[in-house]
């Protein structure tokens, strides 16, 4: 039986009090861990999905909406822009890459993106099996789509109009056929169904070069022209950032939005909310610290006689001081570890029950280095809460304590 063993015995002896203090601390730690993981993973997902995209060009409207719909595929698009914009932008000297996106359809909630193979390539996606599309209605699916639908190569499916999971009637046109599946990338591509831009046009009966229906008059398709929803632009020189957005926003019917600017704006909005909850969590931690302090303080008052006895049989002040500190630290360690486990558990449960969170890329299995700081913070609180009662050891006179305690 060492003094550390004694700490355990004391904690066990007032088991309910110990359990409640551990729980209180764990709740504070868990809240902080949840906030941290949520903020970090959200931010990580935001930056990863937007990496290498300097500008998004789309229909006029809210720039944030344009960014959300065309980079993160979470909001509805602002509208469409003429296909001619693709060529026009590609001719700009400051532009290195233009990736067109045609949006508006889904298959069971997974968005169908009409684009070019350059799009998955931009995110470093490689095929796990099959091949890239090269004809209309050939589709390549991201890893999450493949897992979520259990779709294999050769699988046929009909897209539905709209971006949510299909209430609207399915297009009664040609079905898509899965020709390739991508390896997981940890980016938005994992959750997308990708096909050629022409496929999306065909779904909506839009005429285009490759579908020359000379026998049908143009009126059969109404006024619909080949359009795309958005263009993802990468600059070749920093000059692009100076000239291009201003030009597009002033001189054309389109708008240009910089992901970096919009995301910073969005995160600062989200950040305000996170900071508010963070303050509450810190308050919770301090409450837990105070509760540990009160528990140790009252326990030590009852144990004054024990401590004096230990001193008499030869324990040094330092070792008794250490014993009390260890008691606080054991509480804090248990609370911190339980809190981390609880935090990850809650995130796992949330990701399992709310698809939007899973789509945000919330992953309970990932640990953040900052969690270590939260744990250390909790330990510091435990140590501090134990410090004040423990310091009494250095003030107490043994003979007097023996005389006045049982």
């Amino acid at each position: 039986m060492t003094l550390v063993g004694l700490s355990f015995a004391y904690l066990k002896d007032r088991g309910l009090n110990t359990a409640l203090n551990i729980l209180l601390l764990a709740l504070g730690v868990a809240t902080l861990v949840i906030l941290l993981l949520f903020a970090r993973q959200l931010e990580g997902r935001f930056t990863r999905d937007a990496q290498g995209i300097d500008l998004v060009v789309g229909a006029k409207g809210s720039p944030l909406q344009l960014i959300l719909s065309s980079i993160y595929h979470v909001d509805v698009p602002t509208g469409n822009i003429p296909l001619s914009a693709v060529q026009a932008l590609r001719q700009e000297r400051t532009v290195a890459k233009v990736i067109p996106l045609a949006l508006g359809d889904n298959f069971r909630g997974y968005r169908i993106v009409g684009t070019e193979p350059a799009y998955p390539a931009h995110y470093g996606a490689v095929l796990s099996d099959g091949r890239m599309w090269d004809k209309p209605f050939e589709a390549v699916i991201g890893a999450d789509v493949a897992a979520g639908l259990g779709a294999g190569l050769g699988q046929r499916f009909l897209g539905s109009h709209g971006l949510g999971s299909g209430q609207s009637p399915e297009h009664d046109a040609t079905p898509f056929i899965v020709v390739g599946r991508l390896k997981p990338t940890g980016t938005v591509v994992d959750r997308l169904v990708m096909a050629s831009v022409e496929s999306v046009w065909d779904m909506h009966g839009i005429a285009h070069d490759e579908n020359e229906h000379e026998d049908e008059p143009d009126e059969a398709h109404g006024v619909m022209q080949p359009e795309v929803t958005a263009l993802l632009v990468t600059y070749s020189s920093p000059l692009g950032a100076i000239q291009l957005p201003g030009f597009i926003n002033r001189q054309t019917n389109m708008q240009a939005a910089a992901p970096a600017v919009e995301i910073t704006r969005l995160l600062s909005l989200v950040g305000l909310g996170i900071e508010a909850v963070q303050a509450l969590a810190l308050l919770l931690l301090l409450t837990a610290g105070l509760s540990i302090f009160v528990a140790l303080y009252t326990a030590l008052r009852q144990r004054e006689g024990d401590m004096a006895m230990l001193r008499v049989i030869g324990a040094s002040r330092a070792s008794i001081f250490g014993q009390i500190l260890v008691e606080g630290m054991l509480l804090a360690t248990a609370g911190a570890l339980l809190g981390v486990a609880l935090g990850h558990g809650v995130i796992a449960a949330a990701a399992a029950n709310f698809r939007q969170l899973a789509e945000m890329g919330l992953d309970a299995g990932r640990f953040d280095i900052a969690e270590l700081w939260i744990v250390l913070g909790a330990l510091a609180i435990g140590a501090f809460a134990a410090l004040l009662p423990a310091l009494r050891v250095f003030r107490a006179d043994i003979a007097e304590t023996l005389a006045h305690s049982r």
Partner: protein, 230 residues
């Protein structure tokens, strides 16, 4: 010099003090002439309430520094040592039995002994603990917590704990004053028996005149009023 004194332990008295006095709040609470107790010579400090028995024990244990005079334990001047050295001397040589027992309620009897063994000698010897528990007749209650022990069982546990550090001197403050005649006799029997078996010397402080006949060597403390007069 201290070392030499320790080596010649066989001839040095285990406990000795010169003329000793102690004052608290400007009042003399203890004033006694010189005294010596040899190893193996069980002794009794007898005096009425308030005569300074606990104060004397505290001085012997190095918990209180007397106003004048000094107490030597095993040849070393307890009163002249620095606090840490006092702790060490007490840890090495003295085992204490408290009137209120002071067993740690969160620990079992066995664990109480193990903790004292760890603090006193820095080792863990389960066999010695079991043997001592058996010697005081508590083998069947070794894993019980103090709350679950009877008064007599608690006293046995407290004596076992005092002996587990193999002290040369066992000091007991009022071990019998709260007990009835038969229990008081049993307590003294057990103290004598275990002390003799482990080679420890007893120093018992009490106002309980019932145990006076059991000791050959007695230090009688005068009532406070008489001490003040002296």
């Amino acid at each position: 010099m201290k070392l030499a004194a320790g080596v010649s332990a066989a001839t040095t008295p285990l406990v000795s003090f010169s003329t000793l006095s102690h004052a608290m709040d400007g009042r003399t609470v203890l004033a006694i002439p010189g005294w010596e107790q040899a190893a193996g010579e069980h002794a009794l400090v007898l005096g009425p309430s308030g005569s300074g028995k606990t104060t004397l024990i505290n001085i012997i244990c190095g918990l209180v520094t007397p106003t004048s005079g000094s107490a030597r334990i095993d040849g070393m001047d307890m009163t002249a040592l620095a606090p840490a050295a006092r702790d060490a001397l007490r840890r090495r040589t003295i085992g204490l039995v408290f009137q209120t027992l002071r067993l740690i309620p969160a620990l079992t009897v066995r664990e109480n002994l193990a903790l004292a063994q760890h603090i006193g000698r820095g080792l863990h010897d389960p066999a010695e603990i079991s043997a001592l528990i058996a010697r005081v007749g508590l083998a069947h209650r070794a894993d019980a917590k103090p709350r679950a022990l009877s008064q007599g069982e608690g006293q046995r546990a407290a004596i076992a704990r005092a002996l587990i550090t193999r002290p040369r001197l066992v000091v007991a403050d009022e071990p019998t004053s709260a007990l009835d005649d038969s229990n008081a006799a049993a307590m003294i029997d057990l103290l004598f028996e275990t002390a003799t078996a482990t080679g420890a010397t007893l120093l018992v402080a009490t106002h309980d005149v019932r145990i006076r006949p059991r000791f050959a060597k007695v230090l009688t403390l005068a009532p406070p009023a008489l001490q003040a007069a002296a």
